[in-house]
């Protein structure tokens, strides 16, 4: 007898086709390669359309704030002539409190156009609230499926807050224990409801972020008369890096270096019932960013529209403790109380701005709302209850799942470089494993674009 699990998983292609309204096979060019730009164009939305959709929903055009006191502080700790001007895009000003509204807006528009009665998304992040909010705005129903608690029933406080917000915005929230079977749960709800799959990884979702990159380029030009030198994007599933990268290019802002920033949670297993509640950051961390960079197509749609290796120039990690430091500094120095996870890139900014001349500009792409469950107090108290040591000290003392070190000064914050070339090699290995043979010349050309590894380098790597 076929189990319910096998039955649903066996029909995954059919369920996803019905739930996305998009035939992904038309973009396939053999078993590995696909036409990425054709996929991105398949929504039929021009960039101006996306801007209009977001404007009609109160999404985007968020304040671009100069961090004057933070910049001063950074300059006090920089070599003479160094310490770039730091700007922050206050994405917390979006309707549900994060940049995720940009992704949900285009998804809700699409779902409405195609005649769906509701939307479903599998997410433990701010995206849940964004989908719930945009669904309500469109008169659509909404179900959020969320990995929320461990086998003892204990929920991560940040995730509990996100569930509360989804329910406040009119959504049903299905909360599960830890495991990749979240995908099964998603498929079952999609199958049962016939709702739209508002995946984070559809072309409309990524198109929704292009406006953020474009706004950054145009607003910085207006405010400073120059292009940003560095743009810091929190990096998890790759959407922020991809969308911001595309938006910057759309604005011809080619000189800006795009840096992905993740919280370092290396060593914690993402499917571990034990490790689950030893993370103070539930998204924007290496548990997502490393696997999604090396193989983007591990998602809830046939092809991931977020392709970070195409756009990232640099990738760094920061510690959990330094993000809490940045959160407190933002509140005290700039009068902005914002959610810690949204300050991941800000923590890196405190380090990277010191390496740039003072007339240059560095931009942090986001902030997010805060509240019960999200605050550093809630997170740190929970971490200690779960057996994580919380100590005073520099980034070098931080040990994911074991120790959170809270810095006492800016000098105690460090970023760690992630070797993008090593990730490119892992991508190539994954691609070769997927096709199960040597890559053809056409496939090599696809990898050259998708992972930015030249054909010559690929041949050297595989030989």
């Amino acid at each position: 007898m076929t189990s319910r699990y096998d039955g649903v998983m066996g029909r995954r292609a059919e369920i996803l086709r019905r739930a996305t309204g998009l035939d992904y096979e038309q973009f396939d060019r053999g078993s590995l390669a696909f036409d990425y730009e054709a996929l991105m164009a398949a929504t039929g939305y021009s960039f101006a359309d996306v801007q209009a959709i977001q404007a009609s929903r109160g999404v985007g055009r968020t304040p671009m704030l100069e961090m004057r006191r933070l910049t001063e502080l950074v300059r006090e700790h920089s070599p003479t002539g160094y310490g770039a001007r730091i700007f922050v895009k206050d994405e917390a000003a979006n309707p549900s409190g994060s940049f995720k509204d940009r992704r949900a807006a285009t998804s809700a528009e699409r779902a409405s156009e195609l005649g769906y009665r509701g939307m479903v998304a599998a997410t433990s992040g701010n995206y849940g609230a964004a989908v719930a909010s945009q669904a309500s705005m469109s008169g659509l129903r909404c179900v959020i499926v969320q990995e929320a608690f461990d086998s003892s029933g204990r929920g991560q406080p940040e995730i509990l807050e996100k569930a509360r917000k989804c329910e406040a915005l009119g959504a049903e929230v299905v909360q599960t224990t830890v495991g990749p079977e979240l995908f099964f749960m998603l498929l079952e709800v999609l199958d049962q409801t016939g709702f739209f799959n508002a995946s984070l990884y559809t072309p409309m979702s990524v198109q929704g972020i292009e406006t953020l990159g474009h706004e950054i380029a145009t607003e910085i030009r207006e405010l400073t008369g120059r292009d940003p030198s560095v743009v810091l994007a929190t990096h998890a599933g790759g959407g922020m890096a991809t969308g911001v990268g595309r938006g910057l290019r759309r604005a011809n802002c080619d000189g800006a270096q795009l840096v992905g920033v993740s919280v370092n949670l290396v060593g914690l297993h993402m499917a571990s019932d034990r490790d689950f509640n030893r993370k103070s950051f539930t998204t924007g961390h290496t548990g997502f960013s490393v696997p999604f960079t090396t193989w983007p197509d591990r998602v809830d749609v046939p092809r991931n529209a977020a392709r970070p290796l195409r756009y990232l120039d640099k990738f760094v990690t920061v510690t959990q403790g330094s993000v809490f430091f940045a959160t407190e500094l933002l509140a005290q120095a700039e009068g902005l109380e914002r959610g810690p996870a949204g300050n991941t890139s800000l923590a890196a900014a405190l380090v990277l701005a010191r390496e740039l001349p003072r007339d240059e500009v560095l931009v942090v792409t986001e902030t997010e709302y805060t509240g019960a469950g999200k605050t550093p107090w809630a997170q740190l108290e929970f971490a200690r209850a779960m057996g994580v040591d919380v100590i005073a000290g520099g980034s070098e003392l931080d040990d994911p799942g074991r120790t959170i070190a809270l810095p006492e000064s800016i000098e105690q914050i460090a970023v760690q470089d992630v070797d993008l070339d090593a990730l490119r090699r892992s991508y190539l290995k994954a691609a070769t494993a997927v096709v199960g043979r040597d890559l053809t010349a056409e496939e090599r050309r696809f990898v050259e674009q998708d992972a930015r590894v030249s054909v010559d380098t690929q041949e050297a790597l595989v030989s």
Binding site: C142, V143, S151, Q175, E181, D273, Q332, V390, A392
Partner: protein, 105 residues
């Protein structure tokens, strides 16, 4: 319109038993069932008994009742001494103490 006697309820059910779970799970996850919870309106629910509820989108879900009138208990938390120490460091970083501060004590 829901009947006034219907109660806001949380139910829990086992989605997958340990034997049906995904391959490649770490042992601490593989040895526990995959469990889900949802909230909705149920007629005459009793904690610990089975119930069928209707969610806000109209889905009917059956499970064991875990809570009646479920709310939210996550909080802003309490400050750890190490966090207070960090805040004080930041305060001094932004406003270095001056002689007059000392005089006014």
């Amino acid at each position: 319109m829901a009947d006034l006697t219907d109660r806001w309820t949380e139910v829990q059910w086992t989605v997958l038993d340990t034997s049906d779970r995904s391959a490649n799970l770490p042992p601490e996850t593989r040895t526990t069932p995959y469990v889900a919870r949802v909230r909705g309106l149920a007629p005459d629910p009793r904690v610990g008994a089975k119930a069928e509820l209707t969610t806000v989108v109209g889905r009917r879900v059956s499970g064991v009742v875990t809570e009646l009138d479920p709310g939210y208990s996550h909080s802003f938390g309490r400050p750890l001494p190490e966090w207070v120490h960090m805040r004080e460091s930041i305060r001094h970083l932004l406003n270095p103490p001056t002689d007059s501060d000392e005089d006014s004590r």
